[in-house]
């Protein structure tokens, strides 16, 4: 009964964010609540107006690609922005083909063995991995504008909070963040809430929507990302990961 009472106490206190004098650690909190919460708010954020958001929960789904089948038509990019945003914008597309289409992901400097239309024909489709914790784009956002959206639990840009600073773009190792120059806000793959338009649009069946799995270790990054964590978040990270 003791631990149950403790659980109630913790939850009650969690809801009351003005109480800064809590006597248990972040980690303890997670262990108590079973770690199955969507995000963690810093309970001891001194001086912070709002508690920073850190995504914990895994995404439920993922779009994956087969490069052998990609025929380089770009209909995925067009479906993504036309059906979601009412405009055709490969630059803004949340699945990215165009940058690899001619010469492959390594571009023109790959020497003799390039991919793409000018190489061996392989078109590598770049897709958001819906990263598990720690989520680079979300953690880089100074406004906690990247959130988790059920039912897919995709990592999604909250347009009400996004201020268009592009820190998320810098943070993604695979350069998957997009920027909408009409709204001046970031955007990213949100799995179209469970029916990805790109998957539907592909005329060669090169894309599939599957149960999420962690691809962050298997797909080589495109860039060395700039990862900066705000002090508030840093504090949260420290507390949670402290032994």
């Amino acid at each position: 009964m003791g631990s149950d009472n403790r659980r109630h106490e913790v939850l009650a206190q969690t809801l009351d964010l003005t109480d800064a004098s809590l006597s248990f650690s972040r980690r303890e909190f997670l262990l108590i609540t079973g770690g199955m919460i969507v995000a963690v708010s810093a309970l001891e954020a001194k001086g912070a107006k709002e508690a920073p958001l850190i995504i914990m929960d895994q995404a439920g789904g993922l779009v994956i690609s087969d490069s052998t089948k990609c025929v380089g038509c770009r209909r995925c990019e067009l479906a993504c922005t036309e059906y979601n945003d009412g405009k055709a914008s490969p630059t803004m597309a949340r699945i990215k083909i165009s940058r690899n289409l001619n010469f492959g992901p390594k571009g023109l400097y790959a020497g003799q063995h390039s991919e793409g239309n000018w190489g061996n024909g392989l078109v590598i489709q770049d897709l958001c991995k819906q990263c598990p914790h720690p989520v680079p784009c979300a953690n880089a956002c100074p406004n906690d504008a990247i959130v988790v959206r059920p039912p897919t639990n995709a990592r999604v840009v909250d347009l009400n909070k996004c201020i268009g600073c592009k820190m998320c773009q810098r943070a993604c190792p695979w350069e998957m963040m997009s920027f909408d120059s009409d709204t001046n806000k970031a955007t990213k793959c949100f799995l179209c809430d469970g029916s990805p338009k790109c998957v539907e649009a592909c005329p060669s069946g090169a894309l599939a929507y599957v149960a999420w799995r962690d691809l962050t270790d298997s797909v080589p990054p495109r860039v060395v990302p700039t990862a900066i964590v705000s002090p508030e978040k840093a504090q949260t990270c420290n507390e949670c990961h402290k032994k």
Binding site: R99, W118, D182
Partner: protein, 701 residues
């Protein structure tokens, strides 16, 4: 944000003589002409006076795309290039070429609906268009290089995503039989020399912008999916070529070649094209394999995948990997193209040691593509190769070319079907080396004139497929009887119209075609089974008119006329009907400018009649009927001397064709005697000022 969606909003104008770069508002100035060839003909009419020659600085080149380019509308990756045509004989007239690839979309994303090139630079230049930043750059270092190297170098400057349209040595050397190419394999015939004459080596475009869809995005998604649902395979062939369990019909001549066991053999791992049940829109890309269609089953093992233009699911280009060619000929093992481009190398040879569908023929294609698509040589829809065979085997080369030069060619290799022969021939054409190569590079009309061969010989020859003015037929009576003949009279180069042949070759049983024809053109008599043609009737003229107008419409909207119109479909539940209004549905939603099918066809008619007016003006005669709309003699003959309208012949009858032209002119509301639009016809289309200008010169009946 502009008033309309679809259009990017600006037309870019570049004067290479002065270096001046300016823009115009697309819809403000050109809305009545939509885009593509519409803008092209308008600019040529307004700004390029009669008597201008293709390589004069006063000639202009208009790279035009349409409001649908760059969108998700299926089959929209086309750029139309309008200019005075170098191979048009005996005197140049306006014509248009078309190239696919990524160029059209990239131009839209950069913010432009067209580029007008004027004047002539005093040294080699290339044009850099990077979103709003347009610069004329020095191309002296690029000059002399092939298209491939030029493209790669410009991509190194502009980034790997830039789309580059470049000419090769052929265009630089003002060879009329030359092309401009973008996206590796997408060529526009005939215009390379015009760019070369302006010292314009290439245009590089990079666009990070977008194309706005004016209409409701859910509506747009529905219409795009409707369009996808009625697509067939290449050339809108709507039945498979072998029986499939889901199919009621099949036709051995169809380009829908997917079937279980037919694999993209050079993919890793290889992929079975399998059953492409038409409701499954995720399998459209497997239906077509033009390499297999043209080169035979051997091509399957070499197929990596399909390729093609932006937003098109059909992938009519085939990417082939033939390892043997890198060892045998020292060329890359991977090559790609479609149709005539794919067949470029093979078409020269009368025979191969292992037949027209054997290994050597495939290798000849690989060598041909490698050379032609880098040197930028054009083949005038196969006329180059047909002329070559004729001139060689009838001893004309031998007699017209000096002995020393003639003996410089390895004719034994040519006769044996050895692809290495192409390494001798094609660079010479591109570089104008020697009499033989120079003459061939002029185009048929000027070649015949240069060598004192009467055009009549070509007009009588059943095998050469020559039509008029230096160009061959392009889907004429062999595809659609009188309808095809009419269409082939109307242009200043080979007709480039597929509206009619896409229909007659769709593979459906003749009774189904007739049923659809009745709905489309007023009677089932509009179409006959190929080889069982019947006498002329008004419905065939209506079909001809429809075909021409839709081709112009497609060339203005940026839709691919090698796929459209989409009036037949593979869907049994639709009675195999497509949708005759799909163009207007897409146009209205994308731009926000509501147009019905009829209204849009009217605009297409305006554009076509402007082309007619240009032809009349620049020929200096209104007598189109006898001076321009001519039909070669071979159309009225048959190799077995079978009668016209008997079964087993495509032979046409002279009186019947006279009637065909009469009926067509009536359908167009033109003067029957001259085949020229009347003043009323011009005015009806909003071309009153055109009529006025022509009337001043006595060119209106």
């Amino acid at each position: 944000m502009g008033k309309y969606g679809g259009w990017a909003g600006k037309v870019l104008r570049v004067d290479l003589s002065t270096g001046k770069i300016s823009t115009e508002g697309t819809t403000e100035k050109y809305k009545d002409f939509l885009g593509g060839t519409g803008i092209g003909y308008k600019v040529i009419w307004d700004e390029v006076p009669a008597g201008t020659k293709p390589f004069d600085p006063a000639n202009k080149i208009v790279y035009g795309v349409g409001p649908l380019a760059g969108t998700g509308a299926p089959c929209n990756g086309r750029t139309a290039i309008t200019t005075l045509w170098p191979t048009c004989w005996p005197s140049p007239l306006v014509a248009s070429g078309h190239m696919g690839g990524q160029f059209a979309a990239e131009l839209k994303y950069a913010g432009y609906d067209a580029i007008i090139i004027e004047g002539r630079a005093d040294h080699p230049v290339w044009l850099s268009v990077s979103d709003g930043k347009v610069e004329i750059k020095d191309a002296r270092r690029l000059w002399g290089q092939g298209i491939r190297m030029t493209t790669v170098e410009i991509n190194q400057l502009m980034g790997p995503e830039a789309s580059v349209a470049a000419i090769g040595q052929a265009g630089e050397n003002l060879v009329p039989m030359s092309v401009v190419i973008n996206s590796y394999s997408h060529s526009a015939g005939g215009v390379g020399g015009v760019m070369g004459s302006k010292n314009l080596k290439a245009i590089g475009v990079r666009g990070t912008g977008s194309v706005r869809i004016a209409g409701n995005k859910e509506e747009w998604e529905k219409v795009v999916k409707l369009h996808l649902s009625i697509l067939g395979a290449n050339n809108q062939n709507v039945v498979p070529n072998v029986p499939q369990s889901w199919a009621e019909h099949y036709n051995p001549g169809s380009r829908w070649v997917a079937s279980a066991g037919r694999r993209w053999g050079a993919a890793d791992p290889s992929i079975d094209t399998g059953s492409c049940e038409p409701h499954n829109l995720n399998r459209i890309a497997y239906r077509t394999n033009n390499a297999a269609f043209f080169l035979g089953d051997k091509a399957w093992q070499y197929t990596v995948r399909g390729n093609g233009c932006t937003a098109c699911p059909i992938r009519c280009h085939t990417m082939l990997k033939v390892p043997a060619v890198s060892v045998k000929y020292g060329i890359p093992a991977v090559g790609q193209n479609t149709c005539v481009g794919l067949l470029f190398g093979r078409s020269f040879f009368k025979t191969f040691p292992d037949g027209p569908k054997g290994q050597t023929a495939i290798e000849a294609c690989m060598v041909g593509m490698h050379l032609a698509d880098d040197l930028g040589v054009w083949d005038n829809y196969g006329q180059l190769q047909r002329d070559f065979q004729e001139l060689y085997y009838n001893g004309v080369f031998n007699s017209k070319v000096r002995e020393k030069e003639f003996k410089g060619y390895s004719w034994d290799k040519y006769e044996q079907g050895d692809p290495t022969f192409l390494f001798e021939l094609l660079p010479k054409i591109a570089n104008r080396e020697g009499e033989l190569a120079t003459a061939l590079g002029l185009g048929t009309g000027y070649l015949l004139e240069r060598w004192g061969i009467p055009e009549q010989q070509w007009l009588e020859n059943h095998e050469l497929l020559y039509w008029k003015q230096g160009h061959p037929k392009h889907h004429s009576n062999e595809d659609a009887g009188q309808c095809g003949v009419i269409i082939n009279t109307q242009y200043n180069r080979d007709a480039q119209c597929h509206s009619h042949s896409n229909f007659t070759r769709n593979g459906l049983p003749i009774e189904v075609q007739k049923r659809l024809a009745a709905e489309l053109w007023g009677s089932s008599d509009a179409v006959d089974a190929v080889g069982a043609f019947k006498p002329m009737n008004v419905y065939k003229a209506r079909m001809a008119k429809w075909s021409i107008l839709r081709k112009e419409l497609h060339d203005c909207l940026s839709l691919c006329n090698w796929m459209g119109p989409w009036v037949a479909s593979p869907l049994k539940e639709r009675g195999y009907r497509g949708d005759d209004s799909i163009e207007s549905l897409l146009y209205s939603l994308a731009t926000g400018d509501q147009m019905s099918r009829q209204e849009l066809d009217k605009i297409a008619e305006r554009i076509f009649v402007l082309q007619r007016a240009l032809t009349i003006r620049d020929m200096g005669t209104k007598d189109m009927r006898t001076k321009h709309d001519t039909i070669p003699d071979w159309v009225f003959t048959d190799p077995k001397d079978k009668d016209a309208f008997s079964k087993g012949t495509i032979r046409m009858d002279k009186e019947d064709i006279k009637l065909a032209m009469d009926t067509y002119y009536e359908e167009m509301a033109w003067d029957k005697e001259t085949g020229s639009p009347t003043a009323a016809a011009y005015r009806e289309l909003g071309l009153g000022n055109v009529a006025h200008e022509l009337a001043k010169k006595g060119l209106v009946p």
